[in-house]
Amino acid sequence: EPEVTQTPSHQVTQMGQEVILRCVPISNHLYFYWYRQILGQKVEFLVSFYNNEISEKSEIFDDQFSVERPDGSNFTLKIRSTKLEDSAMYFCASSEGQGAAYNEQFFGPGTRLTVL
C-alpha cells in the first residue's frame, strides 16, 4: 500500500541553525501539507502546497519557514533559524485532490525535531 515517508525520523539541532525536513508524498497525489505537534498538544496545520505554490498557510508559518518541491518526488520544509519552541513532531501529508471534505489526507510517520 502506498504511503507517505519522511526523513529523518529524528533531527537534533542547535538553536539558530537551519534544518530541512524531507517528505516523499504518495506518487499520484497533487496536494501536500505540513503539520506540527508539540509534545502533549494538538496537531496544528502549517501550510498546504499545490502546483508549486503555497495554497494556504497558518499564522505559525512565518518568514522563518519555507516549503519547496525540488523535484518530482520530494517535498521539503525548511526552518531557517530554529528556536527552542520549534521543537515538535512535524508531519507531512498528501492528498489526491483539494478539500479535506472530499480528499483523504494521508500522513507520514513524522520527524521529531529537537532544538537545543
Binding site: K42, V43, S48, A100, E104, F107, G108, P109
Partner: protein
C-alpha cells in the same frame, strides 16, 4: 475563533463494550467533521468523515454521528478490543483544525 474540543482527555472502557467519544465545535458551522486515530509517535490515520447533511456514518465497528443542533459529533467503537487503544482525534476544515484528542484505553 473556531474551536474543536474533545473534553475527555482519557477514557477507559472494558473490552467488548462500546466506547463513545465526544467532539464539540464552537464559533462556526463545519460542513463536515473527520475522525482520526493516532498511535504514540505516529502520524494521524484517517478513519471516517461525516458531512453536515448526514446524521450517521458507519464503517465496520465504527460509527460517527453529527448533530448540528448540539454542535457535536459522537464517535462509537462497538465490541471494543485492546487493539483499539489509541488517541482519537476529531478534526474539521481545509486548514484542518484538530481537537486535542481522547486517549482511549480498552481494558482486557
Amino acid at each position: 475563533s473556531q474551536k474543536i474540543e474533545q473534553n475527555s482527555e482519557a477514557l477507559n472502557i472494558q473490552e467488548g463494550k462500546t466506547a463513545t467519544l465526544t467532539c464539540n465545535y464552537t464559533n462556526y458551522s463545519p460542513a463536515y467533521l473527520q475522525w482520526y486515530r493516532q498511535d504514540p509517535g505516529r502520524g494521524p490515520v484517517f478513519l471516517l468523515l461525516i458531512r453536515e447533511n448526514e446524521k450517521e456514518k458507519r464503517k465496520e465497528r465504527l460509527k460517527v454521528t453529527f448533530d448540528t443542533t448540539l454542535k457535536q459529533s459522537l464517535f462509537h467503537i462497538t465490541a471494543s478490543q485492546p487493539a483499539d487503544s489509541a488517541t482519537y482525534l476529531c478534526a474539521s476544515g481545509d486548514k484542518i483544525i484538530f481537537g486535542k484528542g481522547t486517549r482511549l484505553h480498552i481494558l482486557p
